[in-house]
Amino acid sequence: MTKKKLVIVGNGMAPGRMLEHLFDKDKDAYDVTIFNAEPRVNYNRLMLSPVLSGEKTYEDIITHGDTWYAENGIRLHKSSRISEIDRTGKTVTSENGVTASYDKLVIATGSSPFIIPLPGKDLEGVLTYRDLDDVDRMLAAARGGGRAVVIGGGLLGLEAAAGLKQQGMDVTVLHLMPTLMERQLDPAAGFLLEEEFKSRGIDVLTRANSHEIVDDGTGKVKAIRLDDGTEIEASIVVMAVGIRPSADLARSAGLETNRGILVGDDMRTSDKDIFALGECVEHRGLCYGLVAPLYEMAEVIADNLLEGASEYTGSVTATKLKVTGVDLYSAGDFAEGEDREEIVLRDAAAGVYKRLVLKDNTIIGAVLYGETADGPWFFDLLKKETDVSEMRETLIFGQAYQGGAPLDPTVAVAALPDDAEICGCNGICKGKIVTAIKDKGLSDLDGVRAHTKASASCGTCTGLVEQLMQVTLGDAYNPAAVTPMCGCTHLGHDDVRRLIVSKELKSIPSVMQELEWTTSGGCAKCRPALNYYLVSDWPDEYADDYQSRFINERVHANIQKDGTYSVVPRMWGGMTSSDELRAIADVVDKFDIPAVKCTGGQRIDMLGVKKEDLPAVWEDLGKAGFVSGQAYAKGLRTVKTCVGSDWCRFGTQDSTGLGIKLEKFMWGSWTPAKLKLAVSGCPRNCSEATCKDIGIICVESGYEIHYAGAAGLEIQGTVVLGLVSSEEEVIEYVSALTQMYREQGRYLERIYKWAKRIGHDEIRSQIMDDADKRKAYFERFVFSQKFAQVDPWSERVSGKDKHEFNPMAVLQAEAAE
């Protein structure tokens, strides 16, 4: 009954995958011990770049957490580097003195970054880019600002450069070769990539040969000097010029090695009880640094550990660059040659470049830049060596353009007679639509809707109308691809919003039924969106679906990482008083609230409140006159103000008073995403109104209304909507703008994104120039406020949803015995 012992040296992605395969096949075959030189569990190394750029955190990229190891009975020794393998005694020993014996051993020591032997390579501030510790070091360096010099314009170097730039550093990339990523890209794509990086403000120097890293006199990096004498100042230098298989351990154990650890097709080393896996391996003369081959190896080893006879025969690899906003895909071999043909497609305006290299009617290489959706399809044709001569003419356009299986739906529409009815609601026939498209030069769906009314009512014929446009316009028609709201529907947000209004759908179940949702009850993505659309479109009739709201909007506080909540009372316009502050202090003491903080929106945040305490906290705050600050809402959050003409010697208007008026007018309104306002008393702009969703700048002649600023994930200044002369007008115009956004925005779409989509001219013409439209928006806003301005805290103090805050049952410890 004793299990055989499997020991794994290294805890990267490849052994993680191997164990999954092994456990799938036979959970009980082995007693598993892992030694990891890094002090942590298994994480997805491919995702280091998003961690560096700040788009993900370490927690997000964990593949197997501690519980996985526990559940599978794996002994994981963290921070334990194996220093010795005793093949005769079949044991391994770590630097920190742990010895384990094995029946089978898997060496997965990975690779280490190649360090160019430059003078100065050991200075403080010279980093590599390989594991999470490197990322932490780079992030720490980035906080100090300055310039980062990245040596190496390959995959890793470019990802590091883009990440460091996003972290706020100035960045220079030095690359020895004439074009970037020359091993994966042809020169044309390398050029496009270089232009893209330059447009992001990253300096790129090609044909740059580093000579020396310069010491600042204290053992730290100061600059880097090139062979031609150029000196570039640098606070850090990142070397990303390649990797070297880590084969030393295997070598010292007497296993056969070359560049890497030599293995046969069965992935065994020269010792039949020892396998090698991953980047440390050399198989048929090749070492791999991409993940796909490593996973293929992992599967082979898992099978062979269970006495299987699987073989690994090498991999063809494809590359994708993980830099947000750069779409790049390459696979195979794309050098030119006499026996080779190529097919190239370029679209300068769209920044698209595609090139396929063919040999004997099969694809042997593919480079895609700017549009990579067909990459996997090309790669599949390449791997299977499919004969492509039949589709050669249309191959480059991708899978969607190929004949065969998916029939062209436009053929059927083209065959319809002119008097065939397309839009039943409005009685529009095919001939009328075709004529309108031709005569009026219409090229988009909205244009056709505006001129013919076709598909403008219920919208169910939208697909037909689009096909008709395709038939009529041919290649000139480029339908904007609609991204579905979620996996429960094929409809996009805009279509759903339009249909909710036109079909008068007033509950979530009726939306799901009428719009043919593919799931029974929706999901966590579509339900909150639908709930918002219904609240926004039918303020007086729709009954808010509490269970479709995110927890914060359900309990009117912000959930924190430990499951406690934070509480932010409203302080109108950022003003407070000694009474209010005293009440807050008393609440903090009474409920033992661990942290109190000022927010960016001029409010006080009490953090770490236990959920069951929330109603009592609100009751005490309510007695002092506080209402919910809605710091949790996709709705009006705060109106930040400066002290304005009341106190400030530069103030031109009463910015504080106006801010309070705006907040009292607009509080409680739900919007597609959070809405933050500010009012500044003069163009010095102390309340930072020009990076808010909506901002007011007071000037001598009146009030300048700004909107569509952002200072979060993206940073961008506001756009001017227009100048008005009275406070009443400010309130009318701002409310109208908000209402327009409320009616058109997609759920979770901030106002600046909505504005970019709709166009500033359109918004200005509706709000500034068209008084009737503005008044109508304003009135709809005022109407919906009648139902929205209810303080959720006092409601709950008086008993609403009280089940939410109390446990259903408290069982005695004995009861569990």
Binding site: E59, G65, T519, A524, P528, V555, I559, M808
Partner: protein, 113 residues
């Protein structure tokens, strides 16, 4: 082996739990989240997401799953297993409904590590 030992404990009635919602049951140091679906099925999970221990009872209930409020992991109400690309499992307790009363089998809590 605890396979044959059951410890059914009554925790309240079906009406105590909102449809497509959850309530908490305190059991010593452990919190158990008890969910009720749109079709009135009841499930019980330890109130801890396998990812970062998020309180599953606070999530949105949909299609036999709950989405954790902290990082949007989707957990099966029946098995406690993470759905999609995520991997992990939280403790699931057997539940029985008798005349609108909800009972859960706490013998399973001994299997927690």
């Amino acid at each position: 082996m605890t396979a044959d030992i059951h410890n059914w404990v009554q925790i309240g009635s079906l009406e105590d739990i909102p449809q497509e919602g959850a309530r908490c049951v305190k059991n010593g140091d452990m919190t158990i989240a008890v969910f009720r679906t749109a079709s009135d099925d009841v499930y019980a999970l330890e109130d801890k997401c396998p990812h970062r221990n998020g309180p599953l009872s606070q999530g949105i209930v949909h299609d036999g799953c709950v989405t954790c409020p902290l990082h949007n992991w989707v957990i099966s109400l029946e098995t406690g297993t993470a759905q999609g690309a995520d991997e992990g499992q939280t403790l699931a307790f057997p539940v029985r409904l008798e005349d609108g009363r909800v009972l859960i089998d706490l013998s399973y809590s001994h299997q927690a590590v």
